[in-house]
Symmetry: C2
């Protein structure tokens, strides 16, 4: 159900021939109101795909009535012609629904640098419109998959209202968002400005802290639609907490399905002078190919953790760092402590804990290990 | 000959049992004068190994008379006891040579986080002293190898003077220097302050632009010793040019021997607003695992190049970037141009050219591809 769990939404997922496999490749999510408030965040990459350039304009007034998503082609680095394709898609969806094209967010994912077949997309948009259903969430979630091995959905229930979500993404998971498309829906009554505040608070500590391979995508979009159909206005704190739970759940689903990964790694930085320091240190470790390859090899190589910390500008004493792996403090005061042989790296879930001893702040950054399968998938698959 | 090519130097390489294979593992380079001017640069990593902490103090007065180097153990994150080991090594070398310990630079490489056997090191220092020879350069270069498959040496001839050099390093090649130890010698007459200026100019555009895997090491040291034995004072320009040639030659030898690499990739950024912009853009591409895996797969994936450029703060128009691979302009104005199928990525040497169209500056950054062998070597080998 996911995105169609909240009242006031319909969705569809159809096969329009964009994927050579014949799998579903177009999704449509429609907000039937009575309200149409929305909030969105986009990739921080300066080289953005055409759908992002379009959607950034579409969301500016806080009103979004539909989200069109396609896999099988990212429409990125395709120039003015590619932008016109995105525009034509929004026009087609708008005409079918009887709304303005400017109220339609467009998201695309797949190969970059290749021109999409516009006629195929427009026919698919019409087919998706025809297939819209009040229980279409699961089909929409399937239609946005690329190298994802499973579809990602979530529902968080509030008191008389709920949040639904779907996501795609399995690689290029990086700093400010990952290569991911996320649609969140709610039937709570929340004005656009409050949606924006809640969404930024939620993504800042969920999707933004997912750093699978340090590569920032060009198409990332998270869009939150509120129908108000429940008639209930939750407190901002309750709504933000539920939204954060939904985003974190989807982020962990993305992490667990990252291309070729054998391990999910949570890097928690304790006692940092600032939260920014904690994030910088966590991200530096998350981006160390040497550390990530060591985890793949089940080698609790804390020296590579210290070497990564040393590249940051965070406050700490280089001679007084503690590091634990899966709860074993293998390094204290920057010297060997517990025997690394007692660290069991067989389970998929790995925790790294770093004590900076510099203040009261903390943060967790998530990443994956660097595996043969990652190299294989990203050398054999163009994206 | 390398480091013993210039007059006034002796060197040795001996096996002291640090390497379980019985290979040479200790090198000693001695400047017999008449002058003892020197300059050094060290890793920018804030978590530095004990030999770096020692040597940073030893070089402060501009006088260095000997360099001791060992492989088989990095003496890094080994605390106060490890520092005392480094100090004891410098004392032993100083006593044998009849010089002060503070004129001895110490360099170590190998596993981090493990304590070296002090008695083995001190016996090895004495053995290296006993083996010092005016033609000992090649043996010293062998003794500093770790995962290097070949030893790295260079000689650049001036007018009546010369520069010799040796280097080790095959992984963790990163931003400010790589995991590398480099000793450079010259018999030119150059005061310490001028050596420092020349060395920083030379390393800035050679070792500093080598970014094999984005991982900055803890032990990197480059030390330049000038004996003045030729009696000739070259112009600063001539000396800097020769030194830059020597450093670039060694840097390319390091690149070609990087762990598990199938390709050497030169990323040249043209028409940048500033040289810093050009380096930032080049480095962003050099650190994209997705781009590096694509090169391994012989896929000329220029979209991943643009996606990396987009993560930087350099000046450019995202809609007007040109990218060539091996001379083929596969992307113009951020859209597809020449057929990528015409790019031949079979040769080891790959060039990527990026035109930012934002100014007169340029820079080249070198990296390697991301291969199965890299993952294997760094998951199976602790460092």
């Amino acid at each position: 159900m996911s995105i169609t769990n909240p009242q006031g939404f319909r969705a569809a997922g159809v096969a329009a021939g964009l994927k050579s496999t014949g799998a579903k490749d177009i999704a449509l999510v429609v907000n039937d109101g009575p309200q149409f408030d929305s909030a969105s965040v986009f990739t921080a990459n300066r080289c953005k795909a055409n759908p992002v350039l379009w959607s950034q304009e579409a969301v500016k007034d806080g009103i979004v009535k539909a989200v069109f998503l396609n896999s099988g082609g990212a429409n990125c680095y395709t120039g003015a012609d590619g932008f016109q394709t995105t525009h034509a898609v929004a026009e087609t969806v708008g005409a079918a629904l009887g709304i303005g094209a400017i109220d339609v967010v467009v998201c695309s994912t797949g190969l970059i640098g290749l021109t999409n077949d516009r006629a195929q997309l427009l026919a698919g948009a019409q087919a998706a419109y025809d297939a819209l259903a009040a229980d279409g969430g699961a089909e929409a979630a399937q239609a946005i998959m690329t190298t994802d091995s499973v579809s990602k959905q979530v529902v968080v229930e509030g008191a008389g209202w709920s949040i639904g979500g779907m996501a795609k993404g399995a690689g290029m998971l990086a700093p400010q968002l990952a290569t991911m498309l996320v649609v969140l829906t709610t039937d709570a009554v929340v004005p656009a400005a409050d949606l924006d505040t809640a969404l930024r608070a939620a993504t800042r500590i969920s999707f933004d802290r997912l750093d699978s391979d340090g590569c920032m995508s060009t198409n990332d979009t998270v869009t939150l639609l509120a129908s108000g159909a429940s008639g209930i206005t939750p407190s901002p704190a309750d709504f933000t907490a539920a939204l954060t739970q939904a985003c974190t759940d989807l982020a962990m689903q993305l992490l667990a399905d990252a291309e070729g990964a054998d391990h999910e790694i949570a890097i928690t930085v304790l006692n940092a002078a600032t939260e920014d320091d904690a994030v910088e240190v966590g991200r530096s470790v998350a981006r160390s190919n040497l550390f990530k390859a060591a985890v793949f090899g089940k080698d609790p190589n804390w020296g590579r953790v210290l070497a990564s910390i040393g590249t940051t500008s965070a406050q700490f004493d280089p001679a007084d760092l503690d590091v634990a792996m899966n709860g074993v403090w293998v390094c204290k005061q920057s010297t060997p402590h517990a025997d690394p042989a007692t660290v069991d790296l067989d389970p998929r879930e790995v925790s790294v804990t770093i004590d900076l001893k510099a203040g009261p702040e903390r943060a967790t950054v998530w990443t994956n290990d660097l595996t043969h399968a990652y190299v294989h998938e990203n050398s054999a698959y163009s994206s």
